[in-house]
Amino acid sequence: MFKQLTAAGVGLCLLLAALSAPAGAALLVETFALSGTGSFMDSPPYFSGTIISGTLSPATFWFRIDDSGWPADDPFTTPNERWEYIFANYFQYDPTPGAEGWDGHFPSSTPGELAPEWRFDAGSGDICGGLTTSFTITIPDLNANGILEDNEYANKVFSIGLFCYINFGTGEFESFCGQGNCAGTLDLVDEETGLEEFYVPSAASPSGRLYLRDTNCHTGDEESSWGEVKRIHTR
């Protein structure tokens, strides 16, 4: 019990310290909720929209999935070749009785595939971004028949791990790096175009998190101290 209380205390202290820290301090906890659209039929698949609430709001966002090697759909043939390729190469079926469904991981385990990229743009040149550490989409097999049906594809969930990379930071975020995550729903809104509604809740209680710091960040060869120097000189 003592261990648990101590761990909880440290965790909460870290959070409280971060939340009460002024802008420019060593650790920032940013919150966000997202609302946007996108489609796997676009090349590359691009999900974008608005940061509707949280400390990063108002702002815009985008996620982009590398589609190198993916085929285009031939509109004169069925099924949709592009989706067939994605489903076959990225999604795996889990037959656990009562919890049947498909989990899709981007990138797949194929060596050399690039992780999806992301950006949050708060305007006025304040941008943070990077790559995803995980990007998982789950489709339930509601009738447990092992066949993906339209009503099952229509309502999906996703979770995304975010790694914020100093190379992509500008303005207020140019010296910050860190990690975070979000989870939400991906619902089909247009069968013709494959347009999906991308949503991370919520306007009332933003659930996405970014834990950012401005020390020990790097740009490959450079250390974050350069980012800090740049920030000081641009104040």
């Binding site: 101590t6 989990d103 995980s134 028949n145 066949i147 969930v157 989870a183 809740p201 790097h218």
Partner: protein, 224 residues
């Protein structure tokens, strides 16, 4: 006699009204959101178990308890925590040498069975299912070594499936969900428990309606 009939009618009306209210509270489609907190330990618990409480969010889940468990078949015993940690790190953690972070994935591809979860609400019943867990830790000093202090903070996220075997007011539901959160550890060198906190969504549908689909789906599959 007349008084008895009135009483019976009154009780009957109340029962109908209550049943109506219950149905109104739990529609065929249900989107639930909640925040959770808890503790757990990959190293000192077999099987690894994280558990805690639902601390805010939808009133139909508020006050409930949750847990997740990870299948640790084949892992070194908890009596040798150093060996067990080494096994976990070498088996599940993958290093990104460009951005300098580790990601660990616990799912049906990395384990004998997918991790499982459960929620138990004192009034509304239980539900559970399977989940995918992804965790990320930063290599702060970029040396490729997972230092003890780097194990003090990490983030986690994943998706979950909601099984059709819930109880109480959750009995009719199945569906999916997703979650994200962060973990803190004051003393990983001495195998302290992780403190975890996060947010979860559940997108539920009435699977009793889906029974018909199961039959038709089964028939379709047989005919293919």
């Amino acid at each position: 006699m007349k008084q008895h009939v009135k009483t019976i009618l009154l009780i009957g009306s109340l029962m109908t009204l209550c049943a109506g209210n219950a149905l109104a509270q739990f529609p065929d489609s249900l989107f639930l959101e909640f925040d959770f907190e808890g503790f757990g330990n990959l190293v000192t618990m077999s099987p690894p178990r994280y558990e805690g409480e639902i601390v805010s969010g939808d009133s139909r889940l508020l006050g409930g308890a949750w847990w997740i468990e990870i299948d640790d078949s084949g892992w070194p015993p908890v009596g040798d925590p150093a060996a067990r940690w080494d096994y976990i790190f070498n088996t599940f953690f993958e290093y990104n040498s460009t951005l300098h972070f580790w990601t660990a994935v616990f799912d049906q591809n990395t384990l004998p069975a997918k991790p499982v979860w459960d929620i138990d609400h004192p009034l509304n019943g239980t539900m559970g299912g399977t989940l995918v867990v992804s965790a990320t830790f930063t290599d702060d000093d970029m040396d490729g070594v997972f230092d003890v202090e780097e194990r003090m903070f990490g983030t986690f996220e994943g998706n979950l499936m909601v099984m059709k075997y819930g109880t109480g007011n959750f009995a009719k539901y199945c569906g999916d969900g997703a979650y994200n959160g962060a973990m803190f550890n004051d003393d990983p060198a001495n195998w302290f428990d992780d403190y975890v906190m996060g947010h979860c969504i559940l997108d539920l549908v009435n699977c009793a309606i889906g029974t018909e689909d199961v039959s038709w789906g089964g028939i379709k599959q047989l005919h293919r």
